[in-house]
Symmetry: C2
Subunit: 359 residues, 2 copies
């Protein structure tokens, strides 16, 4: 890196910039707005690997046709409670925001609704989309898999078959929602690249090298190795099973799987939204989840842990701070944005002025 | 153990015996038939901890009122695609077999159907129920949690909050289905008891002792410790997140959670059945899952692994062998059955005669 300093930018200015960059690169304006919003949400929630760091990759995909510049979602099937979409490589941000809108509406009628998605471009951080549902008192469950990538081997095997296959869920309470977003593998390709770039080893045996030997070297993946499923060598049959479930939910229902050769970032998705009003009621639901959160947050922590947290707690606190104070971006990310600004002729936004005292 | 030998019993004779024992103990005949069928299925699939080994516990629960002797399921809500049941401590075998029947029927209309269950008695091995759906080309997802038990602490904490919270799924292919059944904790209380009884340590740091120190001692759990979520100390935030999701799915929708004090084996459940015909079609689904199974089963195994298997593969092979040759029961399990026979006055079935040559 050639010395670009980390920078803090106000969220509206950053959003205007990212949107303008994509419009300048040919993406339809409403799609560009979705992408900008979703990428910046990921940064604000602390998922920097899935935030505006992806702008250079997205721009390349626009050039190559891996992400569509415009187009419409095509409905392949619609049973009311369940819909199946093929999305012609539209940005995952647009696909999932619209799927969430539909699923929320349909859940009001059917109690639970499902949207099965194929041929989407990259979806980013799944956790970002969940709040759309939890704000209306609904629970959302969301998974994805990418057909063109296969860094995770089945437990006991050495040849990559699956992607990390995330499962995300938004669980409403009467306060902040629980927002979970986990992959079925211990780590992901992006995180491995970060470890490798920082010259660090994994904290444990998180990968297998190309010969199937357990390894804590993040470069193992780049050299033909594979990522271990959750549980690793000790109990990785559990992560393997979860990964298979996500493959079936995302690819099986949408009908396009690893038997269909795909190029670029070809993503399949599975979304469900549940309205607790259709079951024992919204109050009973949040009374239950409120109590669960309390049992966890008030739990006696073990040595070295300051406080037990529920998933999403840190992310939502970070998001509030970022909305108030601006979005923090590393020097490496700023370098990518500077290149995008140069490529598209869009001016980089001014950083937040850091006042040393109140005026 | 006082030297009861392991025994092999033909499935129909064993089923008749178990059913008769429960009828003699006062359980209504149709409920006894469900319990016998489901417990023996677990033994045949190799889940001996959830098989007829549970007969003594079930008999005690019948005496104490923890399991109801008769009664009916009460429908609390029914939106068509989603139903909510309270089950007045009926056996989980009956509850889940009926829930599966309803969900399969409803999935034909709505594409996906959901049954939310509260106040069930023990459900046993969830994997057993899945075949009801996969035989009709449908995918089933099933979870449970038990309110009266809490051996799993949140990640970073030391006080038990949750049960192991299993997630099971049956995924149809054109051949055998994939049947997965994993808990959100590394191991379960029953498995810990087995390790302790055998004088063995866990293969890894699977528990925390009462002070929050990692431990491979199965007795830690009995001494006030807790079971670690999947991923353990290394990446247990993932198992913790899964456990929270199952708590919300099972307790949140059914409306009875850990804020409601419960005694005995009070189990909540969450069942979904999906009909691929409502999405991209049954053929597209099984074409996808067939290919996935092939990629796994043909995978090059790592050193020490003879063959990569998909979840359920061994269980279904064992089941076929047991149906043909009889159900193998350990001396310890036979001792429990002998006690049940004595208690109820039902005669123990004859073992399979092991012929040394064809007649």
């Amino acid at each position: 890196m050639t010395g670009v300093p980390p920078t803090r930018i106000a969220q509206p200015k950053l959003e205007h910039f990212i949107r303008s960059v994509f419009v300048a690169a040919g993406l339809r304006d409403d799609l560009a707005a979705d992408v900008a919003e979703v990428l910046i949400e990921a940064d604000m929630m602390g998922h920097a690997t899935h935030g505006v760091a992806l702008v250079p990759m997205y721009l390349k995909s626009l050039e190559s046709g891996g992400m569509a510049k415009d187009g419409e979602i095509e409905v392949l099937a619609d049973m009311g409670a369940c819909a199946t979409w093929t999305c012609h490589r539209l940005p995952g941000a647009t696909v999932l925001k619209r799927a969430m809108d539909l699923a929320i509406e349909r859940a009001k009628t059917f109690g639970c609704s499902t949207v099965s998605i194929t041929d989407s471009y990259h979806m980013g951080a799944l956790a970002v989309y969940l709040v759309q549902a939890t704000q209306q008192g609904m629970m959302a469950v969301l998974s994805s898999s990418t057909l063109s990538s296969n860094g995770v081997a089945p437990f006991g095997g050495t040849v990559g078959v699956m992607t990390p296959n995330p499962i995300a869920a938004g669980i409403p309470t009467s306060g902040d929602p629980i927002l979970l977003d986990i992959s079925a593998s211990i780590t992901t390709r992006n995180k491995s690249l970060q470890y490798a770039a920082a010259g660090q080893r994994f904290p444990g045996q998180w990968a297998l090298d190309v010969d199937g030997n357990p390894s804590d070297d993040p470069n193992a993946l780049l050299d033909g190795g594979t990522l271990l499923p959750i549980g690793g060598l000790d109990h990785g049959h559990k992560g393997y099973a979860l990964g298979l479930m996500v493959e079936a939910l995302t690819q099986g229902f949408s009908g396009i799987g690893r038997n269909d050769e795909q190029t670029g970032t070809y993503t399949t998705g599975f979304l469900q939204v549940f309205d607790p009003r259709a079951f024992a009621g919204k109050d009973a639901f949040t009374r239950t989840t409120d109590h669960l959160v309390k049992l966890c947050q008030n739990n006696h922590p073990r040595a070295g842990v300051d406080k037990v947290r529920v998933p999403g707690e840190n992310a939502l606190a970070r998001r509030r701070a970022a909305l108030k104070n601006g979005v923090d971006l590393s020097g490496q990310i700023m370098q990518g944005l500077a290149a995008a600004a140069e490529q598209t002729g869009v001016k980089l936004p001014d950083p937040v002025v850091q006042r040393l005292c109140d005026i």
